[in-house]
């Protein structure tokens, strides 16, 4: 039987979709705290051949990001780098356009584009499975890929997806089934060392008076994710030192 050779350093079985039955049950023992994330896995440097790559997994949402560049482009002659985003694995073309715009905006805010004039940085994002919070997972994967690529940047992005229930309660990183009772939510990305917000994608019918508390909660949860991302990057640096 022919085998497919891959330079992926995560076992491919781990990337296959596994439907997590625990999330579907209502039993008390499996219920998460509102501030707790789903089981997560982040890895900086997944592919050997790519300029930069990162992998992020939050519950059953799994995203792989790859970076090629900075590369030359005869047509692009601006005094800063052109950042292109290619998103695969999402069928809804409207969602793809929305996510691409958000990702391009967030990435442009952290990369020193002026250091690569006339160059093109291509970011390819592959959504392996979607169980809620794709945009925040993609932002985490892209952050790891940028760090792995050695492209100069201003800081690391920490991103989180938070949903709000009708009673005003916030839930961190909800899965698709957990989001069913939500009136809306936000994908929030934050660069802690700059104190800069790079992405705020609010959806649903959230009362105006609840918006500030939702964003404050999202910011706290994003900051709680920073040590995990730091650890993944430090481990990859230590491996290669």
């Amino acid at each position: 039987m022919p085998t497919t050779r891959s330079n992926l350093s995560i076992p491919l079985t781990h990337l296959a979709r596994i439907d997590d039955d625990r999330m579907e049950t209502d039993s008390e023992e499996h219920k998460r705290a509102n501030t707790a994330f789903r089981p997560l896995c982040v890895k900086c440097g997944v592919f050997g051949a790519q300029d930069g790559s990162g992998y992020a997994e939050f519950g059953n949402t799994r995203v792989l990001a790859q970076i090629t560049g900075p590369d030359g482009d005869g047509k692009w002659e601006e005094d800063r780098a052109k950042i292109t985003i290619e998103l695969k694995g999402i069928e809804d073309s409207v969602k793809v356009a929305e996510y691409r715009a958000q990702l391009a905006s967030a990435v442009s805010a952290v990369i020193f584009a002026s250091k690569y004039p006339g160059k093109v940085i291509e970011i390819e994002i592959t959504v392996l499975s979607d169980d809620g919070g794709v945009l925040s997972t993609a932002l985490s994967a892209v952050t790891l890929a940028i760090s792995h690529s050695g492209i100069e940047n201003m800081g690391l992005m920490a991103s989180v997806h938070v949903a709000m229930n009708s009673d005003g309660e916030c839930l961190t990183d909800p899965s698709t089934s957990e989001s069913e009772g939500a009136i809306g939510g936000v994908t929030f990305a934050f660069v802690p060392n700059l104190g800069q917000t790079t992405c705020v994608d609010i959806y649903g019918r959230i009362p105006l008076k609840s918006t500030s508390s939702l964003l404050e909660f999202a910011k706290q949860r994003a900051c709680a994710l920073v040590p995990t991302i730091h650890k993944a990057i430090v481990n990859s640096v230590r491996e290669r030192k």
Binding site: D51, G69, P70, D71, G72, E77, D79, V110, F112, Y116, P117, G118, K119, S147, H148, S149, G150, I151, E152, N153, M154, G155, L156, V191, P192, N193, L194, H230, I233, V234, S236, V237, R238, E239, R240, K241
Partner: protein, 226 residues
């Protein structure tokens, strides 16, 4: 060893009085901020981060291994692993004159220094120093060229690195290490070249000296056909 991540402020006491700021560090006002993830190094008035990267960005003074891709007028176009091709004038070789031009063909490998990296233009290389001497630069004949990470190249060039010294105890070979992640090796037999190539590739993640000696010994005794 301190690892800094992008956005971290570098508060090392030794870094404040250093005059030369190197790779991976940016200056904003009086503060020094990491722009790439890497291990902090401080040596002889220089500070830098040892950054792992596969994509080479040319910097003046770097010695690189280049591949000739074409000839246009008085210039040779060279691939040095950057986004654009680099250029070298035929007069930038030792002993070259209008009549005595270097005989370079497409695919030839040369060892050169980057001397002009003006933004938005192609990098320009030279194979001579200020005194018009080659000092080891020029065409590399025969041998075998391969690519490793930029981090590993910088490590091999470092005088304190024991890898090449250890390999030299077992093999007789020539090596040229370019800052653009390319390494050229030449040895008496192709078997030796293959073994040295394997040792250099595997040694990237080895820091222990005993482990390194074991690796070299194992490669020295093994048959290439294995």
């Amino acid at each position: 060893m301190t690892v800094y991540l992008p956005g971290d402020v570098i508060n090392e006491p030794s870094s404040s009085d250093s005059s030369i700021i190197g790779y991976g560090i940016s200056v904003r006002g009086q503060t020094r901020i990491a722009t790439q993830p890497g291990a902090f190094h401080n040596d002889d008035g220089k500070v830098w981060l040892n950054v792992h990267s596969k994509r080479y960005i040319p910097q003046e003074g770097d010695r690189v291994i280049a591949i000739v891709t074409s000839k246009t007028g008085d210039f040779f176009r060279l691939d040095i692993g950057t986004a654009e091709y680099a250029m070298i004038n035929f007069t930038n070789f030792e002993g070259a004159t209008k009549r005595n031009r270097p005989n370079l063909k497409t695919g030839d490998i040369i060892y050169a220094t980057v001397f002009d990296t003006t933004p938005r233009t192609e990098a320009e290389l030279t194979c001579v120093d200020d005194e018009k001497r080659a000092r080891g630069m020029g065409q590399l004949n025969g041998g075998f060229m391969f690519k490793v990470s930029l981090n590993h190249c910088r490590r091999l060039i470092n005088p304190s690195c024991k890898i090449l010294q250890t390999v030299g105890k077992f093999f007789k070979f020539e090596i040229t290490v370019g800052m653009n992640g390319r390494i050229w090796i030449s040895a008496s037999t192709s078997d030796d070249i293959i073994k040295i190539h394997d040792i250099i590739n595997k040694s990237e993640f080895i820091t222990d000296e005993d482990e390194l000696i074991t690796l070299v010994q194992n490669n020295y005794t093994r048959s290439v056909s294995d």
